[in-house]
């Protein structure tokens, strides 16, 4: 307990500060880059149809996907209906600000709070993403030309719907966010070891 308390009162080493700066640098472009791709594959779409989810909107072949969705009675996807898009870019900016501050003042508590904030945000966003996928996949109009059993696409991985296989995967921005997120545990372990040494035995030769 004493170790934990003293750890959180500590300062960040310059190595950790550099790592946090790297995290900020990977975070910043993710505001503009696509976060997630949902790609639909079917024989008549040899290049696939992609929905590109950005922090602020949905792009890609949205019209074509909506057109196909009307056959199964899925309601139209319109970027304006998702309140998340108005908030996410600012959230990313907030994490960026936390990280810059942590790197500047070199205090572990600031870094830790910022990181917790970031992780919670990530969890909540993935949860809402899955929520929307469930909502769109299960609330199908009974008057649609094609009667399809409700389905729930996974936020990561592949789901089969009629002749389509639907793959949902993080895109460049999402991957960069993930890399930024990995910096948290790396810094934590590094700082811990720096103070209290490694508990892992040295490898035998």
């Amino acid at each position: 307990m004493g170790r934990v308390t003293s750890f959180f009162q500590g300062e960040l080493s310059s190595v950790s500060r550099v790592m946090i700066v790297i995290a900020t640098l990977t975070l910043l472009p993710s505001i503009f880059l696509p976060t997630w791709n949902i790609t639909l594959h079917a024989p008549q779409y040899p290049e696939g149809l992609t929905l590109v989810i950005y922090p602020h909107t949905v792009g890609g072949q949205l019209d074509e996907v909506n057109l196909l969705n009307h056959y199964i009675g899925m309601r139209e996807i319109t970027p304006n209906e998702f309140p998340e898009f108005r908030l996410i870019p600012f959230f990313i900016l907030r994490f960026f600000a936390f990280a810059v501050l942590a790197a500047l003042v070199a205090r572990i508590p600031i870094a830790a709070i910022g990181y917790l904030d970031f992780v919670m945000f990530g969890v909540v966003m993935l949860y809402t993403f899955q929520h929307w996928l469930t909502e769109f996949g299960t609330q199908l109009s009974p008057a649609a030309p094609i009667d399809l059993a409700p389905f729930v696409p996974r936020f990561i991985g592949t789901t089969h719907v009629a002749q389509f296989s639907v793959s949902s995967m993080p895109a460049a921005g999402g991957i960069l966010m993930g890399i930024a997120g990995l910096m948290g545990p790396v810094v934590l372990i590094y700082e811990w070891r720096r103070r209290f040494g490694s508990r892992t035995p040295a490898p035998s030769t």
């Binding site: 019209d63 074509e64 057109l67 056959y71 030309p145 030769t205």
Partner: protein
């Protein structure tokens, strides 16, 4: 540590290697098990040469050909688009005649407008005799932007835009009876050249054949092409009066001969036929002389002269430079050419003109340098009976090379060779230009007309492929009744001797000439850029219906229907009108998906339009028949295609 590692890893690595090797070996055996190439060849009686030809032409699914051939569709009045070397037919482009699949001339107003531009002598012309396609050029090379083609029967020229492979314009030449020496373009597509064939009276509407020499005239027209608008500019175009010889193929000079055009002629005898009256028939009368005349025309200077006041006369709405002006201004020269020639073909470097006289066994090679100095030295004073200066044959001749009986048309490769079709012998002759020498001949089947080689009439030919366009096929194909297909034969010219690779039957019209372009020079739209796009305007059309603006508006007796089409419904699905109403249907395919084309066919009203993704079309008709008429999507657009339909309800009058 290293030892440990190696001991632990060597075995799996070796095992993996063994497994992988075995898997590979089994694949290569398994892939051909029971399908040995030589066995199949034996079973199908294919020689090694046949198998090689098949391998050279076969394209696996999804792989594109490196060349695209634009061929005349003959009497169909259309253009054929063919991949080379697979010889797969890619498309038939609607040009001079209605073509329902493309919604051309069966209800779509803008396509009907193009066909109506091609009306002549107050007739709807429902056929054409397309002969010579010409790809647009920049600096003497195909640029892949436009295609022109003539209709010999009804002297007219069509402009096809290669962004969407659709015909945009037809211009008619009211002063010609027929045309043949077109289309050929100048090196930057400044002009599209069209020479008449059978002379008719020029300055008067009617004159009997007994006044042939006084009243009948030949003609060459230089159609000014405006690349920006993609249209021929009628008012900036001009014709030149020529003697009443029958003019044949043309070509434009390039490089040192830039600015000049060359037009062949036959019947310089000015025979007027009348076999039934005991006169020699045309075929004899028009072949009496040993020499006809190649016409050498300074088109650059002619274009300037045509712009000067008092230098042209209007005839049937066209500016025509009279013969006397052409002689006075030095726009026109003649030089003898061997008997009844067909092709005049300028070499890639523009230094020589090759003429094939059908009734002379030679290719006759003229030197541009010698023609130029003969013109500059003021000529010999000799003229034809109309006063046109004649450059003496011996002064301008570079060489003659004997090729065989009935040489017709010449194309060039990238190695300094020329290839000439030999009609009577049914062969293609390969010969060297420097020094001129016959190299080899290959049999073709049969009666070969034109040749088309990869970029074979440009400044930089590619060689590789030659297509012999054979008029007769006799025994080459499965019998299909007494009217036989023509035969396009693909020949590999990089092999020595040349190898015949493939026979392609053409079961539509009698194609004449074709041009072959590198496929990567073509950059057509995959989808029209934007919803509400008009192929006629090549831009978004104002007021075109888009999603959300569908409606029906009545203005007096005219009912405007603003309709959209998408998979798998039209909106609106009912059109209610009264008998006698004028119906104007504006319809847009609001999709942007590759290949999601819709059609709109209306029962019994002779309407079918093709609406590609983004495209908008207008249909007009009078609802003169009362009743209920289903309309439906005529392209199998989706699983619910049959459900994509609606009703035109025409309420009886009174």
């Amino acid at each position: 540590m290293f030892k440990q590692l190696s001991a632990r890893w060597v075995i799996p690595v070796v095992a993996f290697g063994l497994f992988f090797g075995l898997a590979l070996a089994s694949c290569s055996e398994g892939g051909t098990a029971g399908m040995d190439v030589s066995e199949v060849a034996r079973e199908r009686h294919l020689s090694e040469q046949d198998v090689l030809a098949a391998v050279k032409t076969y394209q696996p699914t999804g792989r594109f050909d490196p060349y695209v051939l634009f061929a005349s569709g003959g009497h169909s009045g259309q253009v054929l688009v063919i991949g080379v070397p697979s010889m797969r037919l890619l498309k038939v482009i609607a040009v001079f005649t209605p073509e329902p699949w493309q919604g051309y001339g069966v209800g779509a107003v803008e396509t009907q407008d193009v066909l109506d531009e091609g009306r002549m002598a107050d007739h709807d012309l429902t056929w054409g005799d397309t002969h010579h396609p010409a790809l647009s050029e920049s600096e003497g090379d195909y640029d892949g932007q436009y295609l022109f083609i003539n209709d010999k029967a009804n002297p007219r020229i069509a402009v096809i835009d290669l962004r969407d492979f659709e015909t945009k314009q037809i211009v008619t030449d009211p002063n010609m009876g027929t045309n043949h020496g077109g289309t050929f373009v100048t090196p930057n597509t400044e002009y599209v050249i069209e020479a008449a064939q059978y002379s008719i009276p020029l300055w008067e509407e009617y004159a009997d054949v007994d006044r042939y020499e006084e009243s009948y005239r030949g003609l060459v027209t230089f159609w000014k092409f405006d690349r920006a608008s993609g249209r021929i500019d009628h008012d900036a175009s001009f014709s030149m009066e020529l003697p009443p010889y029958w003019h044949d193929l043309s070509d434009a000079g390039k490089g040192p001969s830039f600015g000049w055009a060359f037009v062949n002629s036959f019947n310089t005898e000015m025979a007027t036929g009348g076999f039934e009256d005991g006169n020699p028939p045309f075929e004899a009368g028009a072949s009496a002389n040993d020499m006809d005349y190649m016409h050498i025309i300074n088109w650059q200077k002619a274009a300037r002269v045509a712009g000067e006041a008092g230098k042209t006369r209007m005839s049937r709405g066209m500016r025509v430079i009279p013969l006397a002006v052409s002689i006075e201004e030095g726009l026109l020269y003649l030089t003898p050419e061997p008997k009844s020639p067909h092709g005049v073909d300028v070499t890639p470097d523009g230094t020589r003109m090759v003429v094939s006289g059908k009734l002379d066994p030679h290719a006759t090679i003229y030197s541009w340098e010698k023609i130029r100095s003969a013109i500059d030295s003021g000529g010999s004073g000799e003229t034809d009976s109309y006063g046109i200066p004649i450059l003496p044959f011996d002064d301008v001749l570079e060489a003659q090379v004997e090729l065989g009986l009935g040489p017709l048309h010449t194309q060039f490769d990238d190695k300094g060779n020329a290839y000439t079709s030999i009609f009577l012998e049914s062969k293609v002759a390969k010969w060297r230009l420097d020094p001129p020498e016959l190299l080899e001949k290959i049999d073709v089947h049969y009666n070969v007309g034109h040749l088309a080689m990869a970029e074979g009439d440009t400044r930089t030919p590619d060689g590789k492929y030659l297509i012999a366009m054979d008029k007769w096929s006799i025994d080459r194909f499965q019998p299909v009744g007494p009217l036989l297909p023509q035969n396009f034969q693909l020949i590999d010219v990089d092999e020595s001797p040349m190898q015949l690779l493939y026979d392609m039957p053409i079961g539509i019209g009698e194609p004449h000439y074709a041009q072959m372009i590198k496929a990567d020079k073509l950059e057509p739209f995959q989808v029209y850029p934007g919803v509400g796009y008009s192929p006629h305007l090549m831009a978004l059309k104002e007021g075109a219906p888009v999603s959300g603006t569908e409606r029906i508006e009545r203005v007096g007796n005219t009912v405007h229907v603003y309709m959209t089409a998408m998979r798998s419904h039209f909106k609106p699905e009912y059109i209610r009108v009264n008998q006698g109403d004028e119906v104007v249907l504006h319809v847009t395919n609001i999709e942007q998906a590759h290949d999601a084309t819709h059609g709109l066919g209306i029962s019994k009203y002779n309407v079918n339009v093709s609406i590609e993704p983004g495209e908008t079309q207008e249909i007009r008709f009078t609802a003169d028949q009362a009743g209920v008429f289903p309309f439906y999507c005529t392209e199998f657009c989706s699983a619910l295609h049959l459900e994509m339909a609606g009703y035109l309800l025409v309420k009886p009058a009174g």
